[in-house]
């Protein structure tokens, strides 16, 4: 015996799937810009563990016919970045407004049980514990992840404008510790999205088809006796 349970509202599915290519374009065009002054690294003092990014990253494969090229495209990167920033901003703004007005935020914003539950989910997913908290629309770990990524989005907009208009928005730049720190935060937030994306894909693969399909149709097939969300 089964039920079809509504999981994701149509609006949220659109926001989600529009954000995917838009954020991809922002990251790609951001890399085209970053290439021209790629100063960030992982290391301490004068010791560099990893330079972001090695030359090969920008044009992998044979020198004469690389698989792709990300270098020498600063103007192209800026043109894309400053067009699609509007799509990123508006889509994000509409998502936040929608979740706030529809009440969907109740499923997403962490509450006092979140931290404990997130920890339980983490232990379970790392195969350190057999216990999994009861099924809900979004578990504690998801609440933290999906709320953090929105805060990161706001962070990208703030650090972005601190770099883009550092005189007119000098107070934002100053709050971030100056122009170079604003660049640093902007860059590492982007690396954060890449990390989020990796874990997100892994978890979607683990959760399976029924869960993934719900992000497209809006419905999940559940056992009849399951408690509704």
């Amino acid at each position: 015996m089964k039920r079809l349970e509504k999981k994701h509202p149509l609006a949220i599915r659109w926001f989600h799937w529009i954000n995917f290519p838009v954020l991809a374009i922002m990251i790609w065009s951001g890399l085209l810009i970053y290439w021209s002054n790629d100063v960030f690294r992982i290391g301490w003092g004068s010791h560099t563990l990893f330079h972001l990014f090695p030359d090969k990253f920008y044009h992998p494969g044979p020198e004469e016919k690389p698989l792709y090229t990300l270098d020498h495209k600063l103007a192209m990167g800026m043109a894309w970045h400053f067009l699609f920033m509007w799509a990123f901003f508006l889509n994000g703004l509409l998502y936040v407004l929608y979740t706030a007005i529809s009440g969907e935020w109740r499923y997403l914003v962490p509450n006092r049980n979140t931290l404990k539950e997130a920890f339980q989910v983490l232990l379970h997913d790392l195969h350190l514990s057999k216990y999994h908290p009861p099924r809900r629309k979004f578990n504690g770990a998801q609440q933290i992840a999906y709320t953090s990524v929105i805060l990161m989005g706001i962070g990208s907009l703030a650090t972005g404008i601190a770099i883009y208009k550092p005189v007119q928005f000098a107070w934002v730049t100053a709050l971030l510790g100056g122009y170079q720190w604003a660049r640093w935060f902007h860059f590492w937030l982007t690396m954060g999205y890449v990390g989020f994306f990796g874990i997100h894909i892994l978890q979607v693969l683990r959760a399976g088809w029924n869960n993934f399909r719900a992000m497209i149709t809006g419905y999940e097939v559940v056992a009849a006796e399951e408690k509704p969300f």
Binding site: A75, A79, Q168, A170, Y179, V221
Partner: protein, 311 residues
């Protein structure tokens, strides 16, 4: 749970078509309806077909849009043929510029730094007129002044221009400031610039006003020419600056760097120090300054960059 129980589940596959199966909203009769495994499967399959179909249309449209934009992007053959960034990019850059100019205020100063943080900035000016430039015979040429009666021609230049020696520029009160020189590439170096406020210079060598009245900078810039064009003596490098940025109090006609006379490889005898713009607008070795209402040619804007390039 609804009043349905398992014995009442229709065994026949032909359930009536229900409109709004994938409609938005939180409430749906399907949420609580208990279904046989087969019926649940049948319904979710039908919903999946529809959703995946509209998803596929969306992906196709996005792909077409992507392909179209890629054909037109800066650096593409089409953009080179057009001699510019294609219109979707240029329009968005210009919209951004309009917003930036509407938000721009003189009263928001460029942040300054302690003098001892200043050092020699990276030199990035690869576009130079020629190697045999002689700073001693250099004069600053002016075009588009209200009073062009002193304009002269020279052997090399048969356009009448008002010509000033460096002493005429040094005659103004010297202003110095320690600010970041921000390259469009991303780096920023702290430099101390010394020179004449462009604002002061403009009031002494004014352009004509549209109303014919004397210049009144406090009451808006509508009465002034919209742009200032600056070109190197040989014409190899050229920038256009909007008037609001040109008369910003921290825009200098600069002849000193870090307390020393401006070196040749940083644009001696006279360069523009305009910290409300990226380095690309801080033109070195100014030859001619023109006041104009026509948007001047700009070296990097012609190569796909944002014309405004301002902070």
């Amino acid at each position: 749970m609804s009043e349905n129980n398992s014995s009442e589940i229709p065994e026949t596959p032909e359930t009536p078509e229900t409109p709004g199966l994938t409609a938005p909203g939180f409430t749906s009769p399907y949420v609580e309806e208990v279904l046989s495994d087969e019926e649940a499967e049948r319904r979710i399959r039908r919903m999946s077909r529809r959703s995946f179909l509209s998803g596929a249309v969306g992906v196709a449209l996005a792909g077409a849009g992507w392909w179209w934009l890629k054909e037109l992007q800066p650096g593409s053959q089409n953009a080179r043929d057009l001699g510019d960034v294609a219109w979707p990019f240029r329009r968005s850059l210009e919209l951004n510029d309009k917003l930036a100019q509407a938000y721009f205020r003189d009263s928001r100063p460029v942040p300054t730094f302690p003098r001892d943080q200043a050092r020699e900035p990276r030199g990035n000016a690869e576009v130079v007129d020629s190697d045999d430039f002689d700073p001693d015979t250099w004069k600053l040429a002016l075009v588009g002044l209200k009073d062009m009666s002193a304009a002269t021609k020279t052997d090399e230049d048969d356009t009448p221009k008002v010509r000033l020696t460096i002493d005429a520029i040094k005659a103004f009160p010297k202003v110095d400031m320690t600010v970041q020189l921000k390259c469009i590439e991303g780096w920023a170096d702290v430099v101390n610039w010394g020179g004449t406020r462009f604002r002061d210079f403009l009031l002494k060598y004014p352009p004509p006003t549209k109303s014919g009245k004397p210049i009144d900078l406090e009451n808006g810039l509508d009465d002034l020419p919209e742009y200032v064009a600056l070109v190197t003596p040989g014409g190899a490098y050229y920038v256009g600056i909007d008037m609001a940025s040109a008369i910003h109090p921290q825009t200098l006609l600069c002849y000193e760097m870090n307390g020393e006379p401006l070196p040749l490889d940083h644009g001696a005898p006279l360069r523009l120090a305009i910290p409300v713009k990226y380095g690309i607008k801080n033109i070195q070795r100014i030859g001619t300054i023109t006041y104009t209402d026509t948007r001047p040619a700009d070296y990097w804007a012609e190569r796909g960059y944002d014309y405004y390039a301002g902070h």
